[in-house]
Amino acid sequence: MIFSKDSWKEIFDTIKKNKLRTFLSGFTVAIGIFIFIVLFGFGNGLQNSFAEFFVDDKVNTIRIYPSSTTLPYRGYESNRRIEFTNQDLIEIKENFNNEVEDIVVRNTFYNQIKYKEKSNQYQVRAVSPGHREAENTILMSGRYLHEGDIEQRKKYAVIGRLVAQDLFDGKDPIGEYIFGSDHSWRVIGVFQDEGGDREERMLYVPYTAMQEIQKNSDKINQMIVIYNAEMTYDESLLLEKKLEMYIKNKKVISPDDNRGVYISNTGEQLENSNNFASVLQIVVTFIGIGTLIAGIIGISNIMVFVVKERTKELGIRKAIGATPNSIILMILQESIFITTISGYAGLITAMITLKIIGNNLQEKYFISNPYIASSDALFATLILILFGAIAGYIPARKAANIKPIIALRDK
């Protein structure tokens, strides 16, 4: 009797003939689910963008920059400019041989680069081959710098995708010669970088070659230490501390001086960004739960209203022989049916909306690839249906137990 064809027919009949009521309750559920999924998807999209910002560079690196001292120390006055040399690099490498995979050189310049008629200002990074790993540079064609180029001070250049686009107009740049810093450089490779356009408007050249044309300088501006990826965060902090002490000692910088040498650990940044991401996650979850509760309240309201509106009808049904249980069942069956159908409709619409939005909001709002796990979406829909049923059950039970004479009382 409960789920007989007849009781369904009775329910379809009621639904069909009370379109506004059906629409209102259905719409509430659909909109609840829709907003929940879209918001949750946006939250996830925000997290995606966030993650993308930090996957660009290798994370197990420590950057070391020299700067000026601010404290006098051991007979040296303050405001002394600290500089690293090739010799320092070798010594640090030897000293931290066990903990460090590689120490990469990065000397940065801005140069006018010319190819035939075209020229432009670009950042030139004079680097060692390990820089490719530290920066997650992706090679598109040709090859990257290798140790041989460093030793032989080859005037080779690996150019960014946009540099190639700017200067070569679609022509294959490999093997061509570009002109900069009063020398010709042979293009040996083209790279791309997920860090964005800025990272692709650069050239990489052997740092030794650059040193040579700078009057045989042996200066190093920045060192990037790549440490063992299996190191824990705490171990990397320890390494950072040891590096700092070693360099300060070597360069005669006061241990209390905050400047002189600047050391930054990307592991630390990662830790910070992970913390930020988890805060973001909490915010997203909070928004999700909030919309869900708002949806539940909406459905509860509509259910109370629906039952209230039907009080008289239910009284008539009781007077002509409907038992309280059959009344409750009818209302529940109807409300679950409506919430399921419209919940599903809201779910599908929201999924399609997220799909259509895709990466359109990436540039302006940092929402990339918004999505919701189907299990989360389904769970939310089920919760709404469940609460819709509960919200319908309570007034339905009340209505079913009203004496028909009260329900039928006129005026």
Binding site: D6, T14, E313, K318, I320, G321, P324
Partner: protein, 225 residues
């Protein structure tokens, strides 16, 4: 058919108790057409509601077709109502989004009768009250008299032992009142026991027994025919 002994009913409202029915004794045989009269507040509607199992009584006894009716829970009351009784109300109480034939078929639905059979039975009764052509119309498309005839057909459809009519002509003009009463008399002639609560003497005069209530007691009980 109906046997009521020393029936008492009070309504408690806050601290005050209103004694509405004060020891009613009543016997109605099968096939009778009884009018219950009285001014408002006399207790006539309360009596009908108790007979109709829409309300409980305090003391006394009530037997309907030799079944004791006392302190029924809602489920049992619903089943007995469905089995024993048909109701006709002053304000018709049709379900407004259901057509005439669907309204009539509804008690049959609660009796568990199959859909096709419901349609046949409902159409039969609609024919009986002369509204066969109006089967697919909503109550809002019917006149007062037509609505009441649909309500009567609905009350009859479940084949009740007793038909209870609470002011069936209260909302109708005199011409349609007569039509409705003629229908009720005709149904009575076919053997149905019918109770009509009314305050109109003309309506009461058409019945074959008139019970007059005043202040919760039966004042007169007259057989007219």
């Amino acid at each position: 058919m109906i046997e009521i002994k020393d029936l008492n009913k009070s309504y408690v409202m806050g601290k005050n108790s209103l004694h509405v029915l004060k020891g009613i004794n009543l016997k109605i045989k099968e096939g009778e057409l009884v009018a219950i009269m009285g001014s408002s507040g006399s207790g006539k509607s309360t009596l009908l509601n108790i007979i109709g199992m829409l309300d409980n009584y305090d003391t006394g006894s009530y037997h309907l077709d030799n079944v004791t009716i006392k302190d029924l829970d809602e489920t049992k009351a619903a089943k007995y109502r469905n089995k024993f009784l048909g109701f006709v109300f002053q304000s018709f109480n049709l379900i407004n989004y259901k057509t005439a034939i669907e309204n009539i078929a509804l008690p049959l639905y609660y009796q568990g009768i199959a859909s096709k059979e419901r349609q046949t039975i409902a159409l039969d009764y609609l024919d009986k009250v002369g509204l066969k052509d109006w089967a697919g119309h909503l109550p809002s498309e019917l006149s007062g008299g037509q609505k009441q005839r649909v309500a009567i057909a609905r009350a009859l459809a479940s084949k009740p032992k007793v038909l209870l009519a609470d002011e069936p002509t209260g909302a109708l003009d005199s011409v349609t009142s007569d039509e409705v009463m003629e229908l009720i008399i005709q149904i009575n002639k076919e053997g149905k026991t019918i109770l009509v609560v009314t305050h109109e003497q003309e309506v009461a005069n058409m019945c074959n027994r008139i019970i007059t209530l005043k202040d919760g007691v039966i004042m007169t009980d007259v057989k007219t025919k």
